[in-house]
Symmetry: C2
Subunit: 223 residues, 2 copies
């Protein structure tokens, strides 16, 4: 792997594990066993690394959040949207854990994030419309706008919600895989009331998978 | 008004307008036309002011997020829950605008926030159960847990969502009243699929009120 890519992947790993705020370029260089000078040859500062990771995240989301041009959507596609959303939330979990901080530090990122939001809300709506056209959802235009925005807020806020309710930082990490998965369960629950009949058992199985029963999770909240 | 209360109300106003990060105790004292020494006589530091404001917020939410012990809930009650939620979101909008920062600064606040989350999720569930008992909602226990958590994430993330998608800070404030109201519209949309028939026109009128058509808002997102 090229040094530039190694730096990006190493940074992503550390940002995800410790939070971007707690990771310096020196930490990254030390973790990769390269000199700080070598790191600075590829990236002027941490902001540039964050920005590049954000672009990769945005590219990944852009790639899956689309409707195939040549055929109708299927229930299997619907499951894939959930899976791909989970994958991107999990792989880039540092981004939405403390987005306000990242955006406050970098005007360029702020502008790019706004375009990304706009673009993704638009393509997300095409996906919902595609599911409706395929007879998989029953929903009117106004409900679709509201649902899309609620999905967006849920997906982009889930990591910071988990962070806010986690008390001890030395216990299990606030952003474990099981807890991110629970966010997808919540997403399935959001969309469920608009599903047309016919896949009830599949949805139950899907929900069980993402609910992750038996896994230690923060949702003792209700007790 | 006592000086202590004037400091709290003055701080709340400045925090809401400018963001807590951008307001110092000196700003607060200057704005109230009192000496910094006088402010420090009442509060040791800004953290103490934030904590006291959080307690007032938590008390306000605790007061309205309850089921009357002596009678069934009505549709009017349901509207009042929406209104009270909006009022608390609006009056204390600085809190959830950059919660990660506030919690990172103060372990005591972090613990208090966790108790508050737990308590409010529990009482919110009683409200949903009360609406179901009164025949106003049709929802099973599992859906109720998921809905309650989605409501929580939406309400506590709305201000930071608005902040994240606002580009220019010198234009209209990111957290205008109309934009916070739109969050309640989103909340009504979340609950709507579980409403029993009988109040469709009232819900339409309610949604129109919170959607605030014609108001300049950030939801050109979909265009």
């Amino acid at each position: 792997m090229k040094t530039r890519d190694r730096i990006l992947m190493g940074s992503l790993k550390l940002f995800n594990e410790r939070g971007e705020r707690n990771v310096s370029t020196n930490h990254i260089a030390a973790d990769l066993d390269i000199s700080p000078g070598n790191l600075y040859y590829h990236f002027r500062n941490k902001q540039e690394i964050v920005f590049e990771l954000f672009k990769r995240y945005a590219t990944e989301v852009g790639a899956f959040m689309a409707v195939p041009p040549d055929r109708q959507l299927t229930f299997t596609d619907k499951i894939h949207y959930f899976e791909a959303t989970f994958k991107s939330m999990w792989e880039y979990r540092f981004l939405h854990r403390d987005l306000a901080h990242l955006l406050a530090e970098d005007d360029g990122l702020r502008k790019a994030y706004q375009s990304f939001s706009q673009q993704t809300l638009r393509s997300g709506k095409s996906v919902l419309a595609g599911l409706r056209d395929a007879g998989l959802m029953e929903i009117d235009d106004e409900q679709m706008d509201a649902l899309m925005l609620n999905i967006w807020v849920l997906v982009t806020s889930w990591a910071s919600f988990l962070q806010a309710i986690s008390v001890a930082s030395d216990q299990e990490p606030a952003l474990s895989e099981a807890k991110i998965k629970r966010g997808i369960y919540q997403l399935i629950a959001l969309a469920e009331p608009f599903a047309t009949p016919g896949h009830e058992e599949d949805v139950l199985a899907l929900k069980a998978e993402y609910l992750g029963k038996g896994v230690s999770d923060p949702f003792t909240l209700f007790r």
